[in-house]
């Protein structure tokens, strides 16, 4: 019986593919790699790697403890390789902390008043919800790669020319 090996990547062990152009501009494919972006970014720099109108997917290097964030809508985080803790607090006044009409995550200077909701410890491939109306922060003892489903907002970093394939 054939045995199969499933190939995942990690922040310190990944192999990129690429765009082999026939008659096109490689920039049209906005091609990057989550692990490479995380490996080359500062901790918790939330770099957009995909954008579709107002929506984005961010890649972030999880390392140490992040700032607290809050958001007017749900977000979702996936650890693509290592262990990442997610700490959640229900805000007493979420609309006073983040404009309910705003989009994307907002970095908070400090943890506002609220009630502890709980903790999630993500391993490789695990997804967690970052619910609307809460504040959250991440913690990782060792560098790991986070993929975050969210909307383009004040903490989203755009550096497409730096992360994407530009040459054929």
């Amino acid at each position: 019986m054939t045995t199969y090996e499933t190939v995942f990547g990690s922040i310190d062990n990944y192999v990129k593919g690429g765009v082999e152009v026939i008659d096109d501009d490689p920039r049209n494919y906005v091609f990057s790699n989550m692990f490479e972006v995380a490996a080359k970014s500062a901790p918790y720099e939330r770099v957009a790697v995909a954008k579709n109108f107002e929506y984005v997917i961010e890649a972030a290097r999880a390392e140490g403890t992040s700032p607290w964030y809050a958001c007017a809508h749900d977000e979702f985080a996936v650890s693509l390789d290592g262990e990442v803790e997610v700490h959640l607090v229900k805000l007493n006044d979420p609309d006073g902390i983040v404009d309910p009409e705003s989009e994307g995550a907002h970095k908070l200077d400090d943890l506002p008043d609220g009630t502890k909701m709980g903790r999630i410890v993500l391993g490789k491939g695990h997804m967690a919800m970052l619910p609307q109306g809460s504040a959250y922060r991440f913690h990782a003892d060792s560098p790991a790669t986070l993929m975050i489903q969210t909307i383009d907002g004040p903490v989203t970093v755009h550096k497409w020319a730096e992360i994407c394939q530009t040459a054929a």
Binding site: F8, V19, I120, H158
Partner: protein, 344 residues
């Protein structure tokens, strides 16, 4: 597949100014093969032991039965999807979200140059009814058009039963996130989703979730990789998490995407494991434009002016990321939807 119900709240585009066809027929089973034949507008469909045959006013076309059934299955399951579903380089459908065009040769420059192209237009629900009857009748017992070729029976031969359970699968659409109370459950042996043979090495652990009392419905997580390792279908994305109209639609892929998907909007792929090669062609002509080789962690968009088809030697995990906003069909109709999502 990952289309929001609100996607029909818009003005329906009709760029070819075609009337709606209303003539449909489900014909009795053929005495020789046992298969029923079908008619939609002036298109006629019949199958024999090896092939699906399509006749239309300017000629005829044929596809191998397996190719046709795998493509038809996706067109049905995805509700005609976003944009164009090319069953092969000749035949397909284009979705206008409430109405749909069916064509021969309209996305093939040689057919168009020869005047062999032909398009007719239908109400989506009426053509879907014919397509569902067709996939039900033409799929034999033991053959699953959602499955990878090595994991299912043969599509060939004369009529031999059916596989309604397989072709009638309901798409999975989480409302907020898989695993939350009241939402789509995780996959387990017990609920009929064993780990696929090519993912037997994928860890099945779950995240540690410590919810304070009263927050159990909001403090949640699940193992996405384990969830995908237990998918019983290929090339059939399902919604796992939702940020307004932003839909994470991961899927497991093996062998070949059964259609060449012609985008009417930008679509994104995040390769989560293993490798897929995408052959990208011009949407209108079919001329090759690029090969995009995606390995674990790679992110790539498909522009809105291309068609693409994926090839996955080993079963792999792919995150398809869709924007299901109901405003997009209008932007597409007005030519205002961006062809590429970012410029730099």
């Amino acid at each position: 597949m990952a289309m929001l119900d609100s996607a029909t709240e818009h003005t329906i585009a009709n760029p070819n100014n075609l009337p709606l066809e209303t003539d449909f027929a489900l014909n009795p089973a053929d005495n020789q093969t046992g298969y029923r034949s079908f008619k939609a507008g002036s298109f006629e469909f019949r199958r024999d032991e090896y092939f699906a045959h399509i006749t239309y006013p300017k000629g005829s076309h044929m596809l191998p039965a397996d190719v046709f059934l795998r493509a038809l299955m996706r067109d049905v399951a995805w509700g005609f999807f976003y944009g164009t579903v090319n069953f092969d380089p000749v035949f397909g459908t284009t979705n206008y979200y409430g109405e749909v065009e069916m064509f021969v040769g309209s996305t093939n420059e040689a057919y168009r140059a020869a005047g062999r192209d032909h398009i007719e237009r239908f109400k989506s629900d009426e053509l879907m009814r014919i397509f569902k009857e067709m996939i039900g009748d033409w799929t034999n017992d033991g053959y699953d058009p959602f499955a990878a070729p090595m994991e299912t029976g043969e599509p060939w031969g004369s009529k031999n039963g059916n596989n309604d359970d397989a072709v009638g699968r309901k798409r999975v659409t989480a409302k907020r996130m898989v695993s939350l109370p009241g939402d789509t459950p995780v996959r387990t042996d017990e609920n009929g989703f064993p780990v696929n043979r090519m993912f037997s090495d994928v860890p099945q652990d779950e995240p540690v979730v410590e919810a304070e009392p009263g927050f159990e419905h909001e403090v949640g997580g699940f193992n996405l990789f384990a969830y995908l390792s237990r998918s019983d279908v290929t090339w059939n994305p399902s919604v796992c998490s939702v940020v307004r109209e932003s839909l994470f639609c991961p899927t497991s892929e093996e062998f070949i995407l059964p259609v060449e998907h012609g985008n009417d909007r930008v679509e994104w792929f995040v390769q989560l494991s293993d490798e897929i090669t995408w052959q990208v062609k011009d949407k209108d002509t079919g001329r090759p434009r690029a090969n995009v080789r995606c390995k674990a962690g790679d992110v790539s968009c498909m522009p809105a002016d291309i068609r693409h088809q994926g090839f996955s030697s080993k079963r792999s995990m792919l995150l398809v990321w869709e924007n299901g906003s109901p405003k997009i069909p209008d932007l597409v109709r007005k030519g205002e939807a961006p062809v590429v999502p970012v410029t730099f």
